[in-house]
Symmetry: C2
Subunit: 155 residues, 2 copies
């Protein structure tokens, strides 16, 4: 298990898998959570700046989360305690049915929490690519990570 103390700022991790986005899943997610015409209807989408049916941005973000969890599992489980939030989530390009997504995670900074000695905060940049190498999404994610030895002071 990887704890707060094991995180090395500057580490760049490429997701262990990629995620194929199917048309069926795009429609299913959009039907449930983002039923706007350009996520559900080919003709309506063709008339917009997207040009064709595209995935909800929240779907892309959710797929990114899945890629990250799988990466932790495939490499070494991280003692993650969830996230207090995201800064600067950017949907750079549309994601289309048939696209295959992967993510690159760079650890930007980390610090111990003042209020909870058993937790640390990490900040990492996630860059999501499609199969052409185009960036489709970026975000700055904040993570809560368990500290292995809370009684030991440290940055």
């Amino acid at each position: 298990m990887k704890y707060y103390e094991d995180l090395v700022v500057g580490t760049l991790t490429r997701s262990s898998r990629s995620y194929k986005v199917t048309r069926e899943e795009v429609m299913e997610f959009a039907t449930k959570y983002d039923p706007q015409p350009f996520h559900l209807d080919d003709d309506a989408a063709a008339k917009t700046h997207f040009g064709q049916l595209s995935a909800s941005g929240w779907h892309t973000a959710s797929i990114t989360m899945r890629l990250m969890v799988d990466t932790w599992k495939d490499m070494e489980p991280t003692a993650s305690l969830g996230s207090p939030g995201i800064d600067e989530l950017r949907w750079v390009k549309p994601v289309f049915p048939g696209d295959e997504l992967s993510v690159e995670i760079e650890l930007i900074s980390k610090r111990r929490m003042n209020s909870r000695r058993d937790m640390g905060l990490s900040k990492s940049k996630q860059t999501v690519y499609n199969q052409h190498g185009d960036i489709v999404m970026t975000m700055l994610g904040n993570g809560l990570i368990q500290v292995r030895n809370p009684e030991v002071d440290g940055e």
Copy 2:
């Protein structure tokens, strides 16, 4: 149809519906997109700072999107063209199975785009509440809105 010109900065909109979060849906979403133990397993969740099984933050964000789309449909359709991104997404409190969510949307600012005369950018603050009136999530969302009369100059 509500276009860019019709948006009034300062307008506060309460979602037209609420969304009941079921345990089944929490597990289904987490299984697909965020398979961390505290979103899937009661015992594992009880051992974390969440205290009990909670919804993925991406699930809460996706439900918020659904509440917004339904509100646009129920009130007056908005000529939305998607979103370039979100600033400061914050998961303030956990969302638990059985919770009922609603959202308040405040239009903070708007401006015409320089690069596309037929589009405007809006910035709005979304505050998501549970059935107790507790804030569970906030975000600053950026929206692209169609301009009704692109040939007319304006802010």
